[in-house]
């Protein structure tokens, strides 16, 4: 009996936000965001592990809550409560009503990702979460937000594609796609390496870990704080969670793979720290800090992959770490946002974003120009392009001016970090 109640409560946790996402259902409810997260909050407080299986969903899938999951779910509840409060109280947001649908869909996706016990469930709900979050992020935003959203979307699509391939590889190896089974099955098969790299790339993209931090930083830069505070708890934390769940930790030593992850971690730390010191507007503070923190996390994961024995000693820390990361980020963003709201200051104005579309536009312009040059003869073309080539390093080093690459600072630091890594690799 008790078990049944527990199982049903899990179902409600997931279905309730989805139900509220339908505008007609929630039209009379005063606090839809808060109400939607309530079942989850109750379930976090209620003691006892439980699971329930839905044999008819997808290929048959199961959702469960246990000690580890409880940490993450708690974080989710906290972050979303904070976000709901921020959204409700944020007077500056004229699109509140319309964003609520996306808010609730993202929430539902997030809860599903947390509770899923197999790869298909995880993947499905993370898709729901990802695309709805795009809607949440850009709704009613200005051109800058739109551009950030577009970047996020591109990374998301590619990540989903790559993860889908990983999923297929896993599915063709083992029928049962629960985390525990996959973790054991994906060791030592012919497709192991493919699987590992696909999963890594997918989650690095999803979580905005260096070198895919681009979307994350531009999102922090442009999105209003009431939604930006979700960035840490939703895409980033879930990306990290995915990595923990999909990769075969503690089973086998993956030397090269682990090393690469370690290096990514180190690079992220360096990158985040350097950006923090060179470009510390208040608004970007959470961005750089999250990049640094995920760097730490990655370095740990890499170590765990290289030394499986070591992993078992601190494995229990991963979930609390992810949870605290999400909460910390949300709180930080929330605070800064509040500060900015109450005390607008010219110093907080963010810098212009040099984003991908501008970059593409520049290239198209360059191509067009060079084709025009062709009319004037080869010589001038040569001279022109030579001059351009000569200008590039100067521009990159001329930090303030627009450069061909993403942005003066980020490019410079990326190159710097890469150089450091290469030296480290060679000195090994």
């Amino acid at each position: 009996m008790n078990e049944d109640i527990h199982s049903i409560s899990l179902l409600i946790v997931m279905v309730w936000p989805l139900l509220l996402a339908i505008p007609a259902v929630r039209s009379r409810l005063p606090w839809p965001g808060h109400l939607a997260i309530m079942p989850a909050a109750v379930r976090v407080i209620l003691p006892g592990d439980s699971s329930f299986e839905l044999s008819w969903l997808f290929f048959g899938t199961e959702f469960a809550i246990d000690g580890e999951v409880r940490w993450i779910l708690a974080m989710t509840v906290a972050v979303w409560l904070l976000a709901a409060t921020a959204a409700k109280s944020s007077k500056s947001d004229p699109t509140y009503d319309r964003t609520t649908t996306f808010f609730l869909l993202t929430l539902a996706g997030n809860v599903g990702v947390v509770l899923a016990t197999d790869l298909v469930g995880f993947f499905s709900f993370s898709t729901l979460m990802g695309y709805s979050f795009y809607g949440l992020m850009i709704h009613g935003g200005n051109a800058e937000v739109q551009r950030a959203g577009r970047l996020y979307l591109i990374f998301l699509i590619v990540a989903d594609l790559v993860l889908f391939e990983a999923l297929l590889l896993a599915a063709s190896t083992t029928e049962d796609l629960r985390y525990k089974v996959v973790r054991q099955a994906m060791v030592g098969t012919s497709s192991t390496q493919f699987y590992l790299w696909m999963a890594l790339v997918g989650f690095v993209f999803k979580a905005g870990i260096w070198p895919a931090q681009l979307w994350l930083s531009s999102a922090f830069k442009s999105v209003p704080f009431s939604r930006a505070l979700l960035l840490g708890g939703v895409p980033v934390s879930m990306g990290l969670l995915g990595m923990v769940r999909w990769l075969p930790f503690g089973e086998h030593a993956f030397y090269v793979f682990g090393m690469v992850i370690q290096m990514i971690g180190v690079a992220s730390i360096l990158y985040g720290a350097l950006r923090f010191f060179t470009n510390a507007t208040m608004k970007m503070l959470p961005a750089w800090s999250i990049i640094t923190v995920t760097g730490f996390f990655m370095a740990t994961l890499g170590t765990g992959l290289v030394y499986p024995a070591l992993w078992s000693q601190y494995e229990y820390l991963t979930h609390p770490f992810i949870a605290s990361l999400g909460i910390f980020l949300a709180a930080l963003t929330f605070t800064i946002g509040r500060l900015q709201d109450t005390r607008p200051h010219p110093a907080f104005a963010s810098r212009k974003v040099e984003d991908l579309s501008l970059w593409v536009g520049k290239w198209i312009g360059a191509i067009r120009r060079s084709s025009k040059d062709r009319l004037f003869g080869l010589q001038s073309l040569w001279r022109g392009s030579w001059l351009k080539v000569k200008e590039q390093p100067q521009r990159i080093l001329d930090w303030g001016k627009p450069a061909v690459l993403v942005g003066g600072w980020s490019a410079a630091i990326t190159m710097f970090v890469l150089l450091g890594l290469m030296l480290a690799w060679l000195a090994r």
Partner: protein, 499 residues
Amino acid sequence: MNWNAWIPLLVVASSLLPGLVIFSLAEERVRLRSTLNLAGALVKLALVGWMLWGVYHGRHYETRLALLPDLELVLRAGPLSLLFVTLSSVLWLVTTVYAIGYLEGSPHRSRFFGFFSLCVSATVGVALSGNLISFLLFYELLTLSTYPLIVHRGTEVARRAGHSYLVYTIFGGALLLLGTVWLYTLTGTLEFTPQGFLNSLGEEHHPALIVIFALMIAGLGVKAALVPLHGWLPQAMVAPAPVSALLHAVAVVKAGVFGIVRVVYEVFGVSFAAELGVTGPLAWLAATTIIYGSLRALFQDDLKRRLAFCTVSQLSYIVLGVAIAGPIATIGGVVHLVHQGLMKIALFFCAGNLAETLGIHKVSEMNGVGRRMPWTMAAFTIGAFGMMGAPPIAGFISKWYLGLGALEAGQEWVILVLAGSSLLNAAYFLPILHRAWFQEPPETWPEERKFGRKETAWALLLPPVITALMALGAGMLASAPFSPLGWAQLIAQREFYQP
């Protein structure tokens, strides 16, 4: 009296007879016409349901009528037939409701609904055909009864679209006829048999068989819109929206694809076809079509044309699934037959709603349309994500099995094709969704009709929502009994594992 022998015929007749009666009805007898249509659709659905139940319990339903001294018109309800029959009869019902709403007040409705019913009868006939000659018969009937629907509006553009449709399909039909007769002279039978009936032919006939295969695929490929035989499909979008929805997204094109499925599985037999070496080229053809269709869709501003090219691309998923020639890919291909139908019909209904309610025909006019018509665009969103293969919508299941099947058959390149196609799908669907939901709506719509507080008429709103929910359901409930996936597994099992 053995009723079981007549049920397949009744299934065909349940739309044919109302259709013939409707032709003779006066234009203004709306109620009688709608009643007849809906009654026919419901009767058909009930009969199909009865057959589903029966076949599940091991009964046989087969109608045989003499056609030629040694050849019979055979209508038989096997698992594969039922999959397609169920799809078409369910969607017929939905589309009828939609069409009644869509064509309200427009001229020549008796003619329209008459031919519409004929088309459905032909489609159901195609699905139930138990041998190639019956298939051919209904296949041509489908060509003929669709033509008046394409030229329905009677404009010069419509006439030209109809012309191009005929040029393609009649030519395809001739090739199919040639292949069929040739096959008959070699074997003396045309009966669809699981695992094919050509195994016993000697080595010396293999070159002829390869040519026959090519002829048949070319003939069927016209309707299945395989590149380079797809030219008619985007043009045919000039037809009214219900036609585009049911026929050009489901019935007509599916008849072609279904034919390919039949030919590969039940004429040649998939292992024999693989042995002949014809499945490889077919797979490449399908892959080319997938990518080509998506690329072309990227550059269309006309919404229906974009959807049409998307159809071109998605249809070949099915062909690809067949051509990979493995059990799991078969599941993916066959189940996509249903899934693509559900998703695409929802998309076309939505496009029709936009055109009918707001006068929007182009993607570039769709700014902010999600605020004006949220339910329609929600259905559209589900359809679009399904096409991209996002879980939990039906398209995900198809892609999943196709990908797994490709891995199982050792054809990893297929994965790349699928990934590329998904990427392109995202590239041409997401901008639409972005516009619809996140851009500011214009001051006025091109040609707005008001429906009180509702966003549009009920008859127009319900069909897309219902079909989108079905697409969602087919994905989420994939493991439930009687799901499309379950049937597809049954079919694959019969083709591959039974002796």
